[in-house]
């Protein structure tokens, strides 16, 4: 009953989150959209985004059906594995939850954009910030609300059976993979296409309405940074709850004397995190002055501190010690692990900011180096990203050690959950960025007063910083979530006794370490092909539509074709890497390498995946901001040789930070969760 109570608490928290979503959404929609032209542009973006999501989810449904079929058949062929239609149902629920959160988030984000621009015109920074953060918070709270509610229902129906419940995380992970990689290909294919022809060849400014690829570019920001990011963190969130539950249920099976505290704790952390996030969002809405940066940061801190207080209070009241693999741990162990996770997440985020913000040395030096030409720009940008791996990894390593010291493998899993407790707030702050960015695009295309663009640029710049922190956070949490899942997999596949010197593990490790590299190369290829088709199309339109280049009244580019090119490129490009990520763990697990080899593979994939993830995100972010730093007038400003070099650097960095990096996060989590779900198959 104790556990039951906490299912109810978590369920109530998730419903509270959803009510908050409704409240915020109504507030956003009640605001004016601005001029007819603005409404028209916003509608175009909405249509493009909806069209993409529809096609993407159609394809993903195919994968979902095949995998469900796999479970159903497996249940009939090998009934003793306990992998059957129930896992299929749970898997379906996870994928539907992720898809719903994506639809809700996109729906509001593509409606908040014009309204943010209109608010900037009428009520300045504060008004615009309010709409942008409300729009972001709809996404954030939808992510945690929908996913937690679904999980509670599945957990309740199937009585917490991990073989079934884990399927929920796998569903969320699958949708996230396609969301991130498809969205990433879309956004960068469109962006590179728009920039390379528009800015470079035709010499027209960014977001110019004459450029046929601009709408696709704006759609891409929503597709990649809103839906993609949301699906990514939703997955981490679900997995961070699932992993300690899986460990706890294995503990419980081995030692029925284990208290229910460890089983209820993950639900409690999730619940307290939701309330903490709601308060954080409300703080930003109510107390933001003209400094959006500090408002957003303070909101984030407030929710983190509240979550910590809640976790300790609960532990103080109800915590109990427990035994895991023969070691006894104190009652505060999980709470400490949780705090360690929260702190580690923040540190990783700050390091990302240090290496990618124009306010610090690394980006300034990078901008300075741009004066020597594009090759040096790219080389230095790569170096900055590589350098930025050191601190986060040390922090992660220390966090793993500390969490394990206080609560064993369970603690490692809980640390991941701690990091993700305030996911609602983190996603809100993160999704705010693309809304502000889109608002700027609409302001430009609708020829609004330059002061509007100035405000939205200001909001966007803050959004870039918070996005960098968010990306660091996404990687850190992905690493932790993956380690948690890995631990759960090894416990349930009983490979904890396998030595690191085992050749199966070594072979698996090499293959796993290779996966993120190979996967990245496929994504790069897809982005390149998509951008290439886009470039041809934009060139064609400039050539064949009379008066387009000159900007004659009434001549509009054919944006729809560009959106559908990006959509096609994204769908085509995501199938192979996505399929490989699903099939590889299965192949390795069933091969002579077996469970041990699969464990090695996961370890290898985490090792290179985390590093590549950090490096690509920060290299890309640093090059982007080095360009912006030059555009502010440093080292010659816009149009100088340094600026040209920085543009090349930025173009190289774009797919790194927006396609490859985020997709790798999901790759490693997905492979771990597939291994965990299929563990009975490989053990059998």
């Amino acid at each position: 009953m104790f556990l039951d109570m906490f299912l109810k608490v978590a369920g109530a928290a998730s419903i509270a989150a959803l009510l908050f979503v409704v409240y915020l959404a109504r507030q956003v929609l009640s605001k004016p959209q601005g001029t007819e032209r603005m409404a028209f542009l916003s509608t175009q973006i909405q249509k493009g985004a909806a069209a993409f999501l529809k096609r993407e989810y159609t394809w993903v449904s195919g994968f979902v059906l095949v995998i469900m079929l796999f479970f159903v058949v497996l249940g009939m062929v090998k009934p003793d594995l306990a992998l059957n239609w129930k896992t299929a149902v749970s898997f379906l629920a996870g994928s539907v939850a992720s898809a719903c959160a994506g639809v809700v988030g996109m729906w509001i984000a593509t409606r908040a954009n014009a309204r943010t621009a209109a608010a900037a015109e009428h009520s300045g920074v504060k008004g615009a910030l309010d709409i942008a953060i409300s729009g972001g918070a709809v996404m954030g709270m939808a992510v945690v609300g929908i996913s937690l509610l679904g999980l509670v229902i599945i957990y309740k129906i199937f009585d917490g059976n991990p073989t079934i419940v884990n399927g929920y995380a796998m569903g969320a992970s699958l949708v996230a993979l396609f969301g991130r990689s498809g969205g990433g290909i879309f956004t960068k294919g469109a962006d590179m296409g728009a920039d390379l022809v528009g800015k470079v060849e035709a010499g027209i400014p960014e977001d110019d309405p004459r450029n046929p690829a601009v709408i696709a570019d704006n759609v891409g920001d929503n597709v990649g940074d809103v839906a993609g990011l949301g699906a990514d963190l939703l997955e981490s969130y679900v997995e961070a709850i699932i992993a300690p539950l899986a460990v706890a249920s294995i503990m419980f099976a081995a030692n029925p004397g284990t208290t229910e505290f460890v089983r209820s704790f993950p639900f409690f952390v999730a619940a307290i995190g939701i309330f903490a996030s709601i308060i954080g969002v409300m703080y930003v809405k109510l107390f933001a002055k003209n400094n959006p940066q500090s408002a957003l940061m303070n909101g984030t801190y407030i929710s983190a501190v509240l979550a910590i207080i809640g976790v300790f209070a609960y532990t103080w009241l109800r915590g109990e010690g427990f035994t895991l693999e023969g070691v006894a741990y104190g009652k505060f162990g999980p709470a400490i692990a949780c705090v360690v996770g929260i702190i580690a997440g923040m540190v990783v985020g700050f390091v990302s900011e240090y290496f990618t913000s124009g306010s610090y040395r690394p980006v300034q030096k990078l901008a300075e180096g741009c004066q020597t030409g594009p090759a040096i720009a790219v080389t230095n940008g790569t170096a900055v990203g590589m350098q930025s791996t050191a601190l986060p990894v040390l922090v992660l390593a220390i966090a793993v050690m500390v969490a394990a010291h206080y609560a064993g493998v369970y603690g490692v899993a809980i640390a991941a959950l701690g990091m993700l407790a305030t996911t609602g707030m983190v996603v809100a702050v993160d999704a705010y960025g693309p809304i502000a960015d889109n608002a700027g695009g609409i302001a430009e295309m609708a020829h609004m007063d330059p002061k509007v663009r100035h405000i939205t640029d200001n909001l966007d710049a803050v959004g870039n910083t918070t996005a960098a922190i968010g990306k660091g956070f996404a990687i850190g949490s992905a690493a932790f979530a993956a380690i948690g899942l890995l631990s759960a997999f090894m416990l349930s596949a009983k490979v904890t006794e396998v030595s690191i010197a085992d050749p199966h593990i070594l072979a698996g490790l090499l293959i796993g370490a290779m996966m993120p590299f190979f996967f990245s190369s496929l994504l790069f290829g897809a982005v390149g092909r998509c951008a290439d088709t886009m470039i041809q199309e934009v060139r064609r339109q400039f050539r064949e539509i009379p008066g387009l280049r000159e900007g004659l009244e009434g001549v509009h580019p054919d944006s729809t074709t560009c959106v559908s090119i990006a959509t096609q490129g994204a769908i085509k490009g995501m199938l192979l890497p996505g399929g490989l990520a699903i099939v590889f763990p299965l192949i390795i697990g069933l091969s002579p390498l077996g469970s041990a080899g699969l464990a090695g593979m996961l370890v290898g994939a985490i090792a290179t995946g985390v590093m590549l993830g950090i490096q690509t995100a920060n290299s890309g972010g640093a090059m982007d901001n080095a360009k912006k730093y030059i555009e502010e007038g440093n080292f010659g400003g816009k149009g100088s040789e340094a600026h040209k070099a920085a543009v090349v650097g930025d173009t190289v960095g774009d797919p790194l930070k927006d396609t490859v990096g985020p997709s790798i996060n999901i790759l490693i989590k997905l492979m771990c969760v597939i291994a965990l779900v299929l563990a009975p198959l490989f053990a059998g």
Copy 2:
């Protein structure tokens, strides 16, 4: 006595190698140097190279002394660890052996260059090839001859005690690390400096005598590709012999019934490999027609086949089964592992060639993509390198499994040795490249007949292919050698029982996985700073030396200053990364992470190091050859937009393939060998 006999055989083989070195060197030196101008240029390169080596070795001696002192003090403070002055002596011997091989190789390479150019003028392709390959073979045979002789002596004096003998490999590894990273910084700092001002700003051709940095660039080719590569493969070679010896002696200690066959086998493989290499070199010298490519490839095949035949014949005559960790293995186990290693090395090499040669799709597509601009060129180049990791890694994983199946951990170590058995031949073919390249540089600077440049370009192009194969080989062998050392370390530190789920291992793994990234960022930084200083200096000379840019008779640039800038940049740049590589394993081993954490760290470093090593080498190689492919007249040829983009790609790729990639090879080996040597310290 059986083992003693094989020490004698190995000693005899190494003396044969050294006699062959003397024979080849005399032959090279007997050839004419060409005109006075050519001799002058050659002398300048010789002086520059000698000056660099002198400064480098002076600094390295400092490190060597400190480490020797460390062992001596350790022996006095903790006498029971058996790490004392004896290990210090062995360590010194290893570093001296590597330094000697470097000096001999550089000495001859910087003398063979002008003679190759002169031979090209007088006796065409065949004559030039003969000198270039003889020069390369001096390096190759010196590497194997000196290192094996030193090892045999140390092994004999200290009765094969692994705690002492392992120090020899550590010495070789230390010199290699500084040789590779220092040499890599030198060569790319000079190259980028020469190209960016010379070709791009001043608009003068490559290797133009007016460019003050050209001599430094040519010195760099020798420093990086001859001395650096030699030290790299010397290290792998020594470690590939040491690792199975360490495993064998642990086996012997655990089970004195183990036959001496497993202890003599590594020496026999080394000896047979030397004779096979001599025959391979002689084949190239005697039977090369006008097709240098096929001559070099056939020579390589011949030595590999001879080595295989020798190994099997010996096993057939004297092989005996053995028991390791409770498992019995057949007498042909080690021979099979050896062949697996040889084949894996070849496959990895061929994959490198496929991805980096202009004759195949990847580079051609890369060249095509250059038409879209520099950003796409760099992105696609990165993607090609990432894609190229897949096959080599699968091959390595399979090789590890097969070798372990037939001969356990011993087999994994022996596979590494198999791959390196014909190191003499591999280095000969590899060092041939820079000699041909230098010959071309001298031909250009001495204004020789264009046909000479045509011949040397042809030889150089072949050299690029063989260098790509050699680099693949170096990475493959480094991976294998590192795995062999890791296995030996885990056996001797008794961490074979530690589970992969242990948080110490996970934390160590994350830190280890980060090392190659952080190390790379330091090297990138050093190359960038070195190139930057070089650029300032070249600009200064063009500005301040009257008549230099116009090429007035009698006006010479101040090459010496450029050489010393590169030298300083290299020395300064190598100290921090080199120091970190040495200190990190020590810190981790002594920290709470302990031996288990150190094992995790090594595994992590191997995982990311191998991938980054392959990616950087092949990305760099592919971008280089894409540029050359365009220069052959494709996609607009020289001067086109595609060519400009390809030049940017090539400049980005240069430090990847010549500084970062090769240094990472050594980083992972050095950390493994330090762990192995210091294992008693961490266990104690």
